[in-house]
């Protein structure tokens, strides 16, 4: 077990290094740079931009810039944002809560509803319910979130006036209820797509388990149908869901680019978009490393959990 973990650890380090190298190259090899956005500022001169590039060390050779970044990174210094001068880890930390709140609640909704729909349509495969949810899932997966979000805002904020048109809370209020009412629309919009994903996976996993011999045996030995369902079918169908959940971890903390923009939600997705938009390289690199780490950790955690619940799997 320890050997397995060590092996995974070293693999991860190599992967992170490769990710950082590719990320850095892609960002920096594109022509232009972080300063070109200031060109059209009234009174801006070539001289001023050149001087500032020099002061920021942007005109050093790229390999030197990369090694410099890497060396600081290894020591735990992720650099400072070009935009507000704050350390990248602090910047990420400031956006993490908003994303956790939004993604956490929408994932909770989608897992509960998605699992339920998945099991139900598997048990009643071929019925109206099954067809209806299948069609609904396809529709939900095909609607662009941006459009759906705007439609929701027009309906529930502008037309009906039931819910706020966005934002995480009202400035100056910020009570629990205030957060809750702001959370409803964005988390529902996000959940819509995820319910579809989860229900499709759960449906096929359940169908898969239902055709196994041990289910027939359980039924044959006269177990109550409810017990067969809960203990033998659902229990086993959930195992592949753990892997899916592991893959969801980066999304959970990485935020939702589009939804966060439509609902002016100050989370990680928006941070990433802004980082790209303003050529804030240190922040973009930081987010890239952060999500790479999450992917690795999420996968590792899923593998360990699956091994824990499924006695057929041994890690060595």
């Amino acid at each position: 077990m320890i050997r397995y973990l060590l092996l995974r650890f070293w693999q991860s380090i190599v992967l992170l290094f490769i990710v950082s190298l590719i990320g850095f190259m892609v960002l920096n090899l594109a022509p232009g740079g972080p300063l070109s956005q200031y060109t059209l500022t009234p009174g801006m001169t070539k001289e001023a931009l050149d001087r500032i590039a020099e002061q920021m060390g942007l005109n050093r050779p790229l390999p030197i810039q990369y090694l410099d970044w890497l060396w600081n990174m290894v020591q735990g210094d992720w650099g400072n944002s070009y935009r507000d001068g704050r350390p990248v880890l602090e910047v990420i930390n400031r956006h993490l809560f908003a994303t956790l709140l939004l993604m956490g609640s929408s994932t909770l909704i989608s897992v509960v509803i998605g699992t339920w729909i998945g099991i139900r349509s598997a048990l009643r495969a071929g019925t109206v319910f099954d067809y209806a949810t299948t069609v609904a899932a396809m529709v939900a997966l095909s609607i662009p979130t941006f459009w759906f979000g705007l439609i929701a805002i027009y309906t529930f904020s502008l037309w009906l006036g039931w819910l706020p048109a966005g934002n995480m809370y009202t400035v100056g209020n910020g009570s629990l209820g205030d957060y809750a009412i702001h959370l409803i629309m964005p988390s529902m919009v996000l959940a819509l797509v995820n319910v579809a994903v989860w229900s499709r996976y759960m449906r096929s996993a359940t169908l898969d388990v239902m055709s196994q011999d041990f289910v027939r045996t359980a039924k044959a030995k006269g177990l109550a149908p409810r017990r067969v369902l809960m203990k033998h079918i659902v229990g086993n169908a959930l195992v592949p869901m753990i892997t899916l959940a592991g893959l969801q971890l980066p999304t959970l903390l990485g935020g939702a680019l589009v939804t966060e923009t439509v609902f002016t939600w100050p989370g990680m997705g928006r941070l990433f978009l802004d980082g790209l938009g303003y050529n804030d390289y240190p922040v973009v690199m930081g987010l890239l490393m952060f999500s790479a780490i999450l992917v690795l950790v999420g996968n590792l955690a899923a593998d360990l959990l699956v091994a824990l619940v499924d006695p057929r799997i041994r890690l060595d």
Binding site: G32, S36, R83, L150, A165, V262
Partner: protein
């Protein structure tokens, strides 16, 4: 706080204010109370929506326009500019002029007298030492100062007394007054013992003298400022000012409609929503001109554009009004110059543009540009074909380009569209004039000052080793001489004919085809008073000290 400068309503006015608050049902109850309390205590809050996020709070670091939304609320310059272009004093007791002895007749010696009743938000008194520190910070070689223009000519900075500072200019430089009008004074004591001024704690928790004090920033969401009850001038009347970041313009407009934001700020209401915005209940909407002009800009080094007749012909081929009406919903106004109509220096007598494709063809024929086998004109082996670039993703411009392309094709000129992402477009490609032609919105002025030396002087082309932004590589000795002359004169009346002449020459030479002067659509909730657009700066909050609820 000086009572004399405050608005103290008479009993009759107070009653009127209460009445107004009573009939305007949309005004939150808090503000009604505020009016009744006769402005002694600031009350209520205003939420301003911005489509960009303010992140740079030291006004002298490299920043974008939205950051100035915070600067104007938290800091004061020595004096500022009103919408008519007149200076008015803030930290200075009066605006230095030749008449009052603040500036010597040759424009070289400056003397500024400061108020003695100003304190920083942390209670430290404001003195001439802070002004000296600020002016020196701008040219500090280790500091990432966003602008040194003008400040680099300042010599012999002397603190005569806590309320008086003097300096000499190395050369007469007329735009300096306008530059000072947007130079916010920062506190010297906030940088005491700070090794790297680029990373001072002050930069993320600014201390100013302004009408609003820094409270907090929720990264990616909003900035909260609170009333500075010790403010030396008029105001503030609001207890709290919230600058809310809304990254999408459609969402910004939606939140303006729902009332989540009280003022639709920077980037404002998009032209496609203008018609609907005017019909909204309880909202005020106004179109205001800005100092940015849209142009089709030529690289004058290219052989295709050497011939004036070619540039004239291309101008005649453009249907400016059709573009303005079809793409920009008729909001901006066509223009013949880079100078905004609102400016004292605007030349209203320039020849009017005529849309006339036949005349365009005639001009090209006359100049010897004859159609070749493929219908594209050529002369001496030069095909009248060129590329045109702008920021990819700017949909209105991209449509305008297709319009130009078609118009030019009709007169036998081939324009190929080649757009680039912003970071590439406005990098070396633009700065070093690597383009053939560009569609661009530019503001070539410094606040209200008409000087454009960094843009039109022949020595300002980076492609020729210059330091400025003359990306046209426009070279005209007469313009050079006029710019130099205008920059050395102090009196606006003496300067005016010079800048009128420059506009006349630019209109005749056509290094760029002026299309329109940008206009923005401002929107605010009924009941917000004091909101006023000011063409001489870039941001809504320039006079936020006077904002209040009716």
């Amino acid at each position: 706080m000086t009572e004399a400068t405050r608005f103290t309503p008479t009993r009759r006015q107070a009653l009127l204010l209460m009445g107004a608050a009573g009939v305007t049902t949309l005004v939150p109850s808090l503000s009604g109370l505020g009016a009744a309390r006769a402005q002694e205590t600031p009350s209520g809050q205003i939420v301003v929506g911005f489509s960009q996020e303010p992140t740079v709070f030291n006004p002298h670091l490299l920043h974008i326009e939205v950051d100035e939304g915070v600067h104007y609320a938290v800091f004061d310059p020595l004096f500022d500019v009103d919408p008519e272009g007149n200076f008015y004093p803030l930290l200075a007791t009066e605006v230095p002029t030749v008449e009052n002895g603040g500036i010597s007749a040759d424009g070289l010696s400056w003397k500024v007298t400061l108020r003695d009743d100003v304190t920083w938000h942390d209670g430290t008194p404001f003195t001439a030492e802070d002004v000296k520190f600020t002016l020196e910070l701008m040219v500090d070689p280790d500091f990432r100062s966003w602008r040194r223009t003008g400040h680099e000519h300042v010599q012999e900075l002397t603190v005569v007394s806590p309320t008086e500072i003097t300096w000499k200019m190395a050369k007469p430089f007329a735009p300096y007054a306008s530059i000072l009008a947007s130079t916010f004074i920062v506190p010297k004591h906030a940088f005491d013992g700070v090794a790297d001024k680029n990373e001072a704690p002050f930069n993320s928790a600014p201390i100013g003298t302004g009408a609003f004090k820094w409270k907090e920033r929720v990264a990616g969401d909003h900035i909260e400022l609170e009333a500075n009850t010790e403010y030396f001038g008029d105001g503030p009347y609001l207890e709290r000012l919230v600058l809310k970041y809304i990254p999408d313009l459609t969402v910004l407009y939606t939140q303006f409609k729902t009332g989540d934001i009280d003022v639709a700020g920077l980037q404002w209401i998009t032209p496609d929503n203008y018609e609907e915005a005017q019909t909204l209940e309880g909202k005020e909407v106004q179109v205001v001109g800005t100092a940015t002009f849209e142009s089709l800009t030529f690289n004058m080094e290219r052989p295709q554009f050497q011939d004036l007749k070619v540039r004239q012909a291309l101008y005649h081929a453009l249907d400016k009004q059709a573009i303005i009406d079809a793409l920009y919903y008729g909001v901006p106004q066509p223009t013949e110059t880079y100078m905004p109509k609102e400016s004292f220096y605007y030349n209203a007598d320039l020849p009017k543009h005529e849309y006339d494709p036949e005349k365009a063809k005639a001009l090209l024929d006359e100049a010897g540009w004859a159609p070749g086998a493929d219908g594209i004109r050529e002369k001496d082996g030069v095909r009248l074909a060129f590329t045109n670039s702008t920021t990819s993703g700017n949909h209105l411009r991209e449509q305008a380009q297709q319009f130009f392309q078609q118009s030019f094709k009709d007169i036998g000129v081939e324009m190929t569209i080649s757009n680039l992402p912003p970071a590439v477009m406005w990098g070396d490609y633009w700065m070093l004039s690597q383009f053939d032609s560009v569609v661009v919105g530019l503001n070539t002025l410094t606040g209200p000052d008409p000087d454009t030396s960094d843009y039109f002087m022949s020595t300002s082309s980076a492609a020729k080793g210059g330091a400025g932004q003359n990306t046209w590589v426009y070279q005209n000795p007469e313009v050079d001489a006029l710019l130099k002359q205008g920059g050395e004169l102090v009196s606006p009346e003496e300067r005016r004919p010079i800048y009128l002449k420059i506009q006349e020459i630019m209109r005749a030479d056509l290094p760029f085809l002026p299309i329109f002067q940008y206009a923005t659509i401002r929107g605010w909730k009924e009941g917000v008073t004091g909101y006023e657009a000011n063409i001489n700066n870039r941001i809504d909050t320039w006079n936020v000290r006077s904002w209040r609820w009716a």
